[in-house]
């Protein structure tokens, strides 16, 4: 339904009086690509602009983590037991030396937040892209071939959807030992199913359309039809779903790390930082240990969610008017 192929702009019904005016009007009616239209619509949405700004800011913060460390003079795992902790091991709050306070081992929360952002973004983006690739392939194949292929792939999708995420993650980590690649693998494994279902439905609707028949009658191979004719029509749901998958992947990672099943300490991750605050009820006296990583997590996931929403509206304005589309 959601075609993103070029739509001609509304023709201007001006009657050219002179050659000059005709020329000017001709310039006005120049064909604008769908991408430029999308960006134009996106620009008009303040929430999307704000989200993009927040995301870019956090990306810059993550990339600049070594700079933050150099500027503060605090390494991400360096413990400042004299300046960052009281003699009884209670972290100091935000101050000139520790701008966002110290954690329970006297480490700089600001520096750890920056390095933690690397982990969150890496996991979020890599896992979402990998998951959406799997989702697209499974969805397109299932929808295009139908029959037994569809049955098998759809039941596999159902199966994965019915596996309890945390239980499975705990079991896997207990056997294999926690690590970054394992976290990503677990998140990918549990994330591709939603997109696969959506894509399958879309492909089923598309595969009997005239342009597919035309391609087939011209002798195009199945692979060619799937990827050259059908796939471009699925760009909108893929982009929107992948964008919306990023925040849930980031939260998945934080959940795993919070439970001690994700990133192994002392490597910082936002989930680890939140777990540190929960241990020994430190949150009671060290609010910055909750507010800082929690706020960052909230900002980043909210930004990706709003951007995903904005992208959907911008890419498919028709759907946004009639309620939820794509």
């Amino acid at each position: 339904m959601s075609l993103s192929t070029s739509k001609p702009p509304a023709p201007r019904l001006a009657t050219p009086k002179t050659a000059a005016i005709a020329a000017r009007n001709a310039a006005d009616v120049q064909l604008r690509g769908s991408w430029s239209l999308t960006f134009a619509r996106l620009r008009r949405d303040p929430a999307s602009i704000g989200s993009i700004a927040v995301i870019l800011l956090i990306v810059a913060f993550a990339i600049g983590a070594p700079l933050v460390a150099a500027w503060t003079g605090h390494g991400p795992t360096e413990q400042f037991r004299d300046t960052g902790l009281s003699p009884s091991g209670i972290p100091v709050g935000p101050s000139a030396e520790f701008l966002l306070g110290a954690d329970q081992l006297g480490r700089d929360v600001l520096v750890r937040l920056a390095y933690g952002a690397q982990v969150s973004l890496l996991v979020g983006v890599v896992a979402s892209i990998a998951a959406s690739m799997i989702g697209v392939v499974v969805g397109v194949v299932a929808g295009f071939f139908g029959g037994p292929v569809d049955t098998v792939l759809s039941r596999i999708t159902d199966l994965v959807m019915s596996v309890p995420f945390l239980l499975c993650a705990i079991a896997l980590v207990a056997v294999l030992g926690p690590s970054l690649p394992l976290s990503i693998a677990v998140i990918v494994f549990f994330s591709w199913t939603g997109l696969a279902r959506v894509i399958r439905g879309q492909v089923m609707a598309l595969r009997h359309r005239e342009f597919v028949e035309a391609a087939r009658s011209l002798g195009a191979s199945r692979t060619s039809i799937m990827f050259r004719d059908i796939l471009p029509n699925l760009v909108v749901p893929i982009i929107v779903y992948t964008t919306l998958m990023i925040p849930s992947a980031i939260v998945f990672e934080a959940t795993l790390s919070f439970l001690g099943l994700g990133i192994v300490p002392p490597t910082p991750s936002w989930g680890n930082m939140l777990a540190d605050a929960a241990n020994g009820s430190l949150y009671l006296i060290a609010w910055w240990m909750v507010v800082v990583p929690g706020g960052a997590l909230l900002a980043l996931t909210l930004a990706f969610n709003l951007l995903g929403d904005g992208l959907r509206d911008a890419l498919d304005p028709a759907a946004s008017k009639g309620g939820k589309g794509a």
Binding site: Q79, S88, G89
Partner: protein, 587 residues
């Protein structure tokens, strides 16, 4: 969120301070809380349940408070806020603390007058045969007591008795049949009030072992049910000031007065409160809030968290107290069997390098500072006979000496450092302690790889699996150990962990053994005076540490808290908490 919590807490403190200033504590009794008065329901909050409600099986420290209330032991301790006083052995059911015979092999216990069972058919005197029955129940074939091992080899004829018992079907009738008709040669009961124990070898700490509830007498009714079965728990026959009125596992335990208990026969328990109600399933922070609000009084298996303690100290709350328990928690086992790094940890020099590398003061700071923990250097912790402050590997007052460690590392053939595997439990401050140790070893060029292990698996499946030691799943590991009883308890630290006689012991992870230490321990057990025993146990400590099988890091103090209305909060050493049978309730 934290602010919202802080405001009422601060208001409460201000009120407390004014209230205290106005009343001015009537006596110099640190426990405070006005004059003793009887009555009321003591409300206790717990996270989990008791481990067992069967004296012979109990081995969980918090449960000793339940046992203190419902099951009297032969010997026990006075509840006291004085660390030295509360580990002095006192007679409970016995008339006096027994002295060994001249050869050190025999102890005679005389039971007091007026001690009774609150049996279903009316009160009945506790007699010598009940004592014998209790000891016999230790090795019943259904569930043997966790502490049975200390008695089995020590009391003459008990090993044979237990071997025979193991062959009996674990059902009520066959067990009663065997238990009542088979004797342990080392326990004689010449009359109803006299029990004579004969030991296989001298054991100066035997009277201390009799303070364990494992050695409590058992009434004849105890044989009518399977040990610690739901039926047994329901029909528990009490010898203490309270009895079980209601019990729902993992939810609620209610104790009420045992009318059969005779206060004149009990010098250790005042039993002020009328009933004790323990509610389970409460989380730490919620429990602390209830105590501060006054809707509950004491904690069972919960303790104030470091953050709670920080808040309470900031408010100068005198209801917070700490006590030592004789344990060393944490210390770091070194896996001499690890094949990693070409079996390098078998080299004494490398193990000594670790002794110098660890920053013990940093670990103490992570545990909450000097008010909650302290540095240890040997196998025994403070509060145990044999503990002496000494430092076989002095390193800047516990801060560590990275240079010396590097030098030893180089001498051991690792001038460029070494990589070691450290498993850690993902619970509480354990990840923090592991990261603290990691950072301190890093200074000496030792890279530590942290591997998380699920907390429930750590001891049960990971550390106690000898294969993990021999395959190098760990090189160094942080563990804790508390003695099984108080005072003369060095044996319960040394024997399970540092003795290998050919059979693997669960907690001697790498089959460590030292003939020199074993010989000294033998002498210490045969010592006639506590001073002599203490001195010899210290030599055992030195002999073990010379081999550097582990790095002793810190001892922990147990923090305790109680509500405003609790009076006479005195600590009972066995339960590491306030004594339920000696507190009263104001207001």
């Amino acid at each position: 969120m934290s602010r919202k919590l802080l405001v009422p807490a601060t208001a409460l403190t201000v009120a407390t301070v004014f209230a205290l200033a106005a009343c001015a504590p009537s006596s110099d009794d640190a426990a405070g809380g006005g004059e003793p008065k009887a009555g009321g329901t003591l409300k206790v909050l717990a996270n989990g349940d008791v481990d067992h409600l069967d004296p012979q099986l109990v081995a969980y420290v918090p449960t000793y408070n339940v046992m203190r209330s419902i099951s009297r032991s032969l010997l026990s301790y006075s509840a006291s806020n004085d660390a030295a006083e509360r580990i002095v052995l006192q007679p409970d059911l016995a008339e006096a603390v027994p002295e060994p015979s001249a050869d050190g092999l025999s102890y005679t216990i005389t039971l007091r007058d007026g001690i009774t069972w609150g049996a279903p058919d009316g009160e009945r005197a506790i007699v010598a045969s009940d004592v014998e029955r209790g000891i016999k129940r230790l090795c019943n074939p259904l569930i043997s007591g966790a502490l049975a091992g200390y008695f089995t080899g020590l009391i003459e004829g008990m090993a044979e008795f237990c071997t025979g018992f193991a062959a009996v079907a674990p059902e009520v009738d066959p067990m009663r049949e065997y238990l009542e008709n088979t004797d342990i040669s080392g326990i004689e009961t010449p009359d109803d009030t006299t029990v004579v124990f004969t030991l296989t070898k001298p054991a100066s700490d035997f009277p201390f072992m009799l303070s364990l509830d494992a050695a409590d007498p058992a009434p004849i009714e105890a044989l009518d049910e399977l040990p610690d079965s739901p039926e047994y728990r329901r029909s528990f026959v009490s010898s203490g000031p309270y009895k079980v009125a209601d019990y729902t596992p993992d939810a609620k335990l209610v104790l009420e007065r045992n009318e059969a208990w005779n206060p004149d026969s009990d010098p250790l328990r005042k039993a002020y409160v009328d009933s004790i109600e323990m509610t389970m399933g409460v989380e730490g922070d919620a429990a602390m809030q209830q105590l501060q609000a006054g809707s509950a009084d004491l904690l069972f298996d919960l303790s104030p968290s470091p953050a709670n303690i920080q808040q309470l100290k900031a408010q100068n709350d005198d209801k917070l107290s700490t006590m030592e328990n004789g344990g060393v928690d944490q210390f770091m086992w070194i896996n001499t069997k690890s094949p990693n790094n070409g079996g390098a940890l078998a080299d004494l020099k490398l193990r000594q390098a670790l002794q110098y590398a660890v920053d013990k003061t940093a670990v103490v700071q992570t545990m909450g500072g000097e008010e909650l923990a302290g540095v240890t250097n040997g196998i025994f912790g403070p509060g145990i006979l044999g503990y002496e402050e000494y430092d076989p590997y002095p390193a800047n007052d516990g801060k560590g000496d990275p240079e010396k460690a590097k030098q030893l590392l180089a001498e051991a053939g690792f001038p460029d450092g070494i990589t070691l595997k450290l498993p850690y439990r993902n619970v509480g401050t354990q990840p923090d302690i592991a990261q603290t140790v990691q950072a301190s070893l890093e200074r000496a060029g030792i890279t530590v790889e942290l591997t998380p292990v699920p907390p429930t698996d750590y001891y049960a499946n990971f550390m106690t699996n000898p294969e993990n030691a021999t395959t190098g799943a760990w090189d160094i590991a942080l563990v804790g150990w508390s003695p099984d009883w108080q005072g003369g308890a060095a044996r319960s630290v040394f024997q399970p962990q540092f003795v290998f006689d050919g059979t693997h012991q669960s907690y001697n992870y790498v089959d460590y053994n030292s003939d020199a230490a074993n010989a000294l321990a033998e002498q210490a057990l045969a010592a006639t005076t506590p001073e002599e025993a203490g001195d010899l146990w210290h030599q055992v400590d030195e002999a073990v540490m010379a081999d550097s099988p582990m790095v002793s890091i810190a001892y922990r103090l147990k923090p305790n808290y109680h509500s405003e209305r609790v009076g006479g909060f005195v600590e009972y050493a066995q339960s590491q908490n306030g004594d339920w049978t000696n507190v009263w309730l104001n207001g």
